[in-house]
């Protein structure tokens, strides 16, 4: 075989090597969606959609009258997701403004890795910390018998989503062209006025996207809420009630079900719901962020 032909063959082999790898990866990832959908949708042959979404009671193991309503758990998920954002958004945006516009270079070099290190703490460790440190404080402060509730979980989930909000917002704010800041300052604006009237409006959609990504993480968080949120299935009336978000419910029940029965399928249906919610949230933020970066680069 001539050298040239051998080289062509080699090129082809290598191309197929990468191709097969790529295709397998894509298939695996596609498989996630397919398996979830297939198993999850089977449950709707026996459970009506309205029962699933609108009923409060979830009691799959009742012999006579099993209940399949996820409303109470969904409310728990929403409580914690929104509660954590209420805490994390103001602190996160303020921190990203500080890092990108106010901090001295030395301060930034110190704070950035510190915040990135929070992102690296596994959620189970954060849960442990919360259980030992925060939960007793909450129960004493509100004079309730147990601090395992939606409020404690919201605070800890807020700590967990902070790095996401901070790092993405900071990236977006730093992309705002220097020319805008100079123009504003040269007109006699203070630094705060420049931030408020020029920088934040320009980066608003990107900051919004960072909040969405934080929301996606908060909805999907499992270990923290499993440890902290209290796991009660009753419909929560306030933030001081224990809740069982959808993620925690999967972790608690999946080990006790018989493969392939309705309970198993119903848990997959809740997993499918989580998948669709988080995937959509991520997709929307992804599109917003890319559009924003494109606009900012275009304007430069």
């Amino acid at each position: 075989m001539s050298k040239r032909k051998w080289q062509q063959l080699k090129e082809t082999i290598i191309k197929y090597f990468f191709g097969i790898n790529g295709v397998i990866s894509i298939l695996v990832l596609l498989g996630i969606f397919l398996f979830l959908t297939k198993t999850g949708l089977q449950s709707f042959e026996k459970i009506s959609l309205s029962q699933f979404f609108l009923e409060k009671e979830w009691n799959p193991t009742s012999y006579n009258n099993p209940q399949w309503g996820i409303l109470a758990m969904l409310t728990g998920t929403i409580y914690i997701a929104l509660g954590s954002l209420v805490i994390a958004v103001p602190i996160g945006i303020a921190t990203s403004i500080y890092l990108s516009e106010i901090a001295s270079p030395i301060m930034r070099e110190l704070l950035k890795p510190a915040i990135e290190m929070i992102a690296a703490v596994p959620s189970v460790v954060l849960g442990l910390f919360g259980l030992i440190f925060l939960v007793p404080i909450i129960s004493t402060f509100f004079r309730i018998s147990s601090g395992l509730n939606a409020l404690s979980a919201s605070i800890l989930v807020a700590i967990m989503v902070l790095p996401t909000i901070i790092s993405i917002s900071e990236d977006i704010i730093r992309e705002v062209p220097q020319e805008y800041k100079e123009a504003s300052l040269a007109l006699g604006a203070t630094r705060w006025e420049t931030i408020q009237k020029v920088i934040l409006p320009v980066s608003a959609s990107g900051i919004f996207a960072s909040i969405m990504l934080g929301l996606g993480r908060a909805i999907g968080e499992t270990m923290l809420v499993l440890i902290i949120a209290g796991n009660a299935q009753a419909f929560p009336k306030s933030f001081l009630d224990p809740v069982r978000p959808i993620t925690a419910n999967i972790a608690i029940e999946i080990k006790e079900v018989v493969t392939g029965d309705l309970h198993y399928q119903a848990l997959f249906a809740t997993g499918l719901l989580l998948f669709m919610i988080t995937f959509t949230i991520n997709l929307v933020s992804d599109i917003i962020i890319h559009k924003q970066l494109k606009n900012l680069n275009h304007e430069k």
Partner: protein
């Protein structure tokens, strides 16, 4: 004896350890146009950015010496930088309108100083755009995004935006380098018409300096080599280096 609005005394400036400006002593005459010329990297842009303290933005920047604006040291702790910049406006090399409407761009400064009255703002916007000859072109599009204007229009908008803050001095950092000849001519005309405003213009274009300015300073490697009336600098320079530069031996 013409009145001096800005005076620098033994002004030195470093970025980190690099000395950019060396012992600059220069006086800017009120309501006249002063051109700063010199090759790239001679410190001329840095010099004008010192006058309204825009170099504050650069953390590694260190300054010794004084700059007096109307007799007051701009580096003294009592100076209100925002007030200083309102009085000493700046037009940048590249047009930099905000990604906001034309109206909001012009109204930006007045709103900062607390002007909320809509009619007054409208008057200011019209007056400022009129001064730069843009009013007729955009009066029906005030709500349009300023970025939709052409480059020349954008630069005139930026000038109008600066005028809306009623500055006493305008610093122009190569304001025409990104513009076509026609737009350049328009900006030069405008400068001549702003009789009650002091203008300091940085330019690498010597024809522009001779066309528009009354005084010229020649910078080289961070030093002010020569300063005087424009006609003198260009016809009978005292310094050999100035002569070499204006005759095109380097640049």
């Amino acid at each position: 004896m013409p009145k001096k609005i800005i005076k620098t005394e033994n002004l030195n400036l470093w970025f980190a350890n690099k000395k950019i400006l060396k012992e600059i002593n220069l006086e800017i005459v009120e309501n006249k146009i002063t051109a700063i010329i010199g090759p790239s990297g001679c410190g001329k842009s840095t010099f004008v950015r010192t006058l309204n303290r825009m170099n504050d933005l650069i953390p590694s920047c260190r300054i010794t010496g004084n700059v007096h604006y109307k007799g007051k040291n701009i580096f003294s702790p009592e100076t209100d930088v925002t007030n200083l910049r309102q009085n000493i406006g700046q037009v940048f090399q590249k047009p930099n309108p905000f990604p906001k409407s034309i109206f909001d761009n012009i109204a930006f400064g007045p709103r900062l100083y607390g002007e909320k009255n809509k009619d007054k703002l409208k008057n200011i916007v019209e007056e400022s755009l009129e001064k730069v000859g843009l009013w007729k072109e955009v009066k029906n599009d005030l709500a349009k995004n300023a970025l939709s204007l052409s480059g020349g229009q954008q630069q005139r908008l930026c000038l109008a935006r600066t005028l809306a803050t009623k500055p006493k001095v305008i610093l122009m950092d190569e304001p025409c380098s990104a513009l076509d000849p026609l737009s350049t001519a328009k900006i030069e005309d405008l400068m001549q018409n702003l009789k009650d405003i002091t203008i300091v213009i940085v330019t690498h274009n010597m024809q522009q300096a001779t066309r528009v300015s009354h005084f010229t300073g020649f910078f080289l490697m961070g030093k002010l080599i020569e300063f005087g009336e424009t006609k003198d600098i260009f016809t009978k320079p005292q310094n050999k280096k100035t002569e070499d530069y204006i005759s095109g031996k380097f640049g």
